[in-house]
Symmetry: C2
Subunit: 620 residues, 2 copies
Amino acid sequence: MSTAPAYEPEPAPTARVAIAFTTDAGERRVRVPSGVTLFDAASWNGIAIDSTCGGHGTCRKCKVRVVDGEVPVSRLDPRAFDPDELRAGWRLACMAPAERDVEVEVPPLVTRPKAATVGVGRQVILRPAVQKRVVELAEPTLTDQLSDLERLLAALDDLEPRVDLHALRKLPGVLRSSDFRVTAVLVDDVLVDVEPGDTTGRAFGIAFDLGTTTVVATLLDLVTGTPVAVGSMLNRQQPFGADVITRISATMLDPDALARLTAAAQATLDELAGEVCADAGVERREVYEIALAGNATMTALALGIDPEPLGVAPFVPATRTLPELRAADLGVVVHPGARATVFPALGAYVGGDVVAGMLASGMDRDKRVRLFVDVGTNCEIVLSDGDRLLATAAPAGPAFEGAAIRCGMRAAPGAIEAVAIVDDDVVLQVIGDVAPAGLCGSGLVDAVAALVDAGFVDASGRLVDAVAVHGSQPGLARRLVTVDGERVFLLDEATGTYLSQRDIRELQFAKAAIATGWRLLVEEAGLHAADVQQVLLAGSFGSFLSPGAAVRIGLVPALPVLRIVSAGNVAGEGAKMALLSLRERAGAQRLVEEVRYVELSDRPDFNDRFIDELAFPSPE
Amino acid sequence: MSTAPAYEPEPAPTARVAIAFTTDAGERRVRVPSGVTLFDAASWNGIAIDSTCGGHGTCRKCKVRVVDGEVPVSRLDPRAFDPDELRAGWRLACMAPAERDVEVEVPPLVTRPKAATVGVGRQVILRPAVQKRVVELAEPTLTDQLSDLERLLAALDDLEPRVDLHALRKLPGVLRSSDFRVTAVLVDDVLVDVEPGDTTGRAFGIAFDLGTTTVVATLLDLVTGTPVAVGSMLNRQQPFGADVITRISATMLDPDALARLTAAAQATLDELAGEVCADAGVERREVYEIALAGNATMTALALGIDPEPLGVAPFVPATRTLPELRAADLGVVVHPGARATVFPALGAYVGGDVVAGMLASGMDRDKRVRLFVDVGTNCEIVLSDGDRLLATAAPAGPAFEGAAIRCGMRAAPGAIEAVAIVDDDVVLQVIGDVAPAGLCGSGLVDAVAALVDAGFVDASGRLVDAVAVHGSQPGLARRLVTVDGERVFLLDEATGTYLSQRDIRELQFAKAAIATGWRLLVEEAGLHAADVQQVLLAGSFGSFLSPGAAVRIGLVPALPVLRIVSAGNVAGEGAKMALLSLRERAGAQRLVEEVRYVELSDRPDFNDRFIDELAFPSPE
């Protein structure tokens, strides 16, 4: 007989919510942190909602209908809908926070936007590198023997493209099979194809977020700027090790490992490309460009560049800016002339994923003092004082990935993702609504924060004595037990899932590394922690952290939780922006030149500062 | 019992001679038209002789020793050699015409020239697109975390190269395995490789002359500017047809034929690349660039470009100027980053081979009125009046290739290559000193010229009646016989090899097409035939034509024979120049822009003029 609490748990304030979107393409179920707007939730997951203002509540085009579940009426909704509509569930998606599970109907797109909304509320004017032009040419005669290519280029006289051999090979046949009415396909300044007739309605790109663990691909319609399919899978490099260091080590131990790691990464990318194309009914040859954001090691491995110098001091990348590349260089089989744009890196430990994230979150376009924290094994931190940008990397270790944690696991079904202490009991939220099997990163932070708040973990990180708390909180106190000689706190009595004293130490170590990082950056900029006006929690892990818990354990500055923003998959969003806008792509390059990298590992005061940060903040 | 003349034939004035060159690399036997200098004979065949003046007799470096056979002492030899040396056979190669078979010793090269002699006496300052630079870089530290590529490029700060992925892949490993002392390899503005240590002494290129029949490859040492190996073979496209039209037709009849023709051309190029590298002990990866000159059809087929529009009115090429290409695009496996420079074409029937020939013969750099005639199935004609350049193409038909000629054959062993009438007999020169098996193009022209001269063919092209000539020339008259109902002239009574009345008509047709071409060009320039100061006979066939015979039948203007110059394989020479000098390469591009193409096929007076040209000129 189970001793599990026999109640329907109230959603914890830091939980995820499930949203079911119904579009004309069918139903999609997604999970996002509670409080994210319906508009962002859709955007992150590649579901297109009409909008021209970029989610700022001004265009009033992002109308959706909540058909099940509750979403409060925002101050702008009455201007967009009449009372009957409001009663029927109509809301502006950009103003509608998802605080509970909901089902939402998304009307078909009515506009072909000239702009797209991506990133953290970024509005991007559509100007992709991929361009199509229909041209109608005069047929050659004996008195007009201009070559086919010169004839075509004369009709594109505002451009002076370079020409791919592939396009030239097809040119004579395509011109003559289509009465000299063709569509020229350009990627940036390269003519990559000539297609018969008018194909301007079809042009696609794939944005890849190449993570060490998970790889996400978004297929974008480059004509409308909307995502049409999203896919994700585990990076096939997993068998070589969970983190970048083990993968770099693999290449140092085995001369064949680099080639195999490259093949594994490329197979992952190509499989996802096939998947998103199939999902959306798009042919691979209609994809003319791909964009990729990844950390420096993932990027190097995907391109077959020796990563060894990234892993040993002085931590030097082969290059910060990648040369002109083709999709084929990344093993992605799409259009044979398709180009690849790969995000530049700042350094070995602030990679293209972070640059993409900075772009997506507009780090260089906001006058506020903002802190960008991509939480992971290697934690990247960027500070903007509204003018200058400083970046650093902090080695947080594997705690957030669930490694080195006794009951740790990845954020998969069975993982405790949120923990709250309510009255004298523990409330868990488990992914997949199954029995808890372990603790993922956000659950770990939540659990420790809750125990610190309840007085069960003191400022030094020590689990208190059960006797001291038994009188006031007997339900909790009985969970303080010993497992294999180590003191633990039982999170789930039925399954025995627990948080151990050593787990708390691991988290202390990780959060101290991160806090040392942002504190030193803030000082470097001549500021104080209190000057920080917004914190963006980024990355597939950071986005799911509870802002309150992050503040409670001192992982981020003590801001009101509303100013701690889950930024979502900002690397993927940056990759999308690069496909949608040459201007934004240039912005990424500018970021690399503008951001100053601050190396922390050689600072003499680093260790002292680190030790200071190990403690948890006292309650206010 | 043979009835062949039992004499050692005197060399005919239009013969080829055999030269045996002995160098420190061994012996090479070559055959060239009589009268070509030893210097040119060596140069055409990839044998390096010291020279800094380009064969003009001023540097006196091209010293060779004639060890067997006779070469007259030139006016400059006494200034370069003492009497003992002259007696020992020492000559300046550039002043020494090979008029008989000779054996020549070539001393080892003593200078590394800054200039190379190529083409028709062209002196080319060495400035290849391939550049190597040794750089020694500071090793990175925690306070100098510049990326590997930025570190390298900073040391090449006069260049701003684009970077090949291949070079980037190797960079981290090569820098660290060679203590940061490396050689950067650039082709034009692309960094194609980074090699450990100092490899500046080794850089090679291959110049290809891609003929419809024969393909020639010359391996050039780009450091010294000297050819180090030459190879040639039949184009593997032969089974698809002997000329460009049959190969174009093949692609129109069979959708797979283009791919197979491309594969055949590329296999030919790659096999030759392997051969010349093996001959010279050069590794394929030391070849960083290739250059290719071919007619428009051969170029299109080698690149996989649909050639159909080249073969049907209005005769339009896919492009005149080729885009940036890699050696791999031509199927040539050399350095993985090797580039290919392919000669641009003027039009469908004045291809890259002619542009290369114009470059090699300096058509745009001479104040004289010059006519360039590349004799072949399609005959390309260029006229320079010292200022402007006009070009056209004349469809000469296959007579010169030996096709449509009763006893016709290619210039291979057994082919009669020269014919002279001496007293009342016929003197033949047969390739390979074997019994005559047929008549090649130069033999055909010689035979007809000799018979016109002897009064056996009248101005209208008719073989005269045997009775009319029997009295004065009985030995010749008895050769006028009938074969299969057709009147013929027996060239060799033993084997029955003959010239038929129809053969003469075929040649008349061909020479009339060519003569109409150059006459109309000369008129177009406001000149007369008598204004022409030099005729360059180009191409593998034209170079072996007897100038006297060409004048006699009216193929070229009636100039003194010394002003009718065998220009050798000018297409191949042009390809070499493109490898040796970026300036000359730019010159080829300029030629395409400067030369005006004159289309003859749509001129109303073309047919009348053509009929006028069918007759042979009257003896002067």
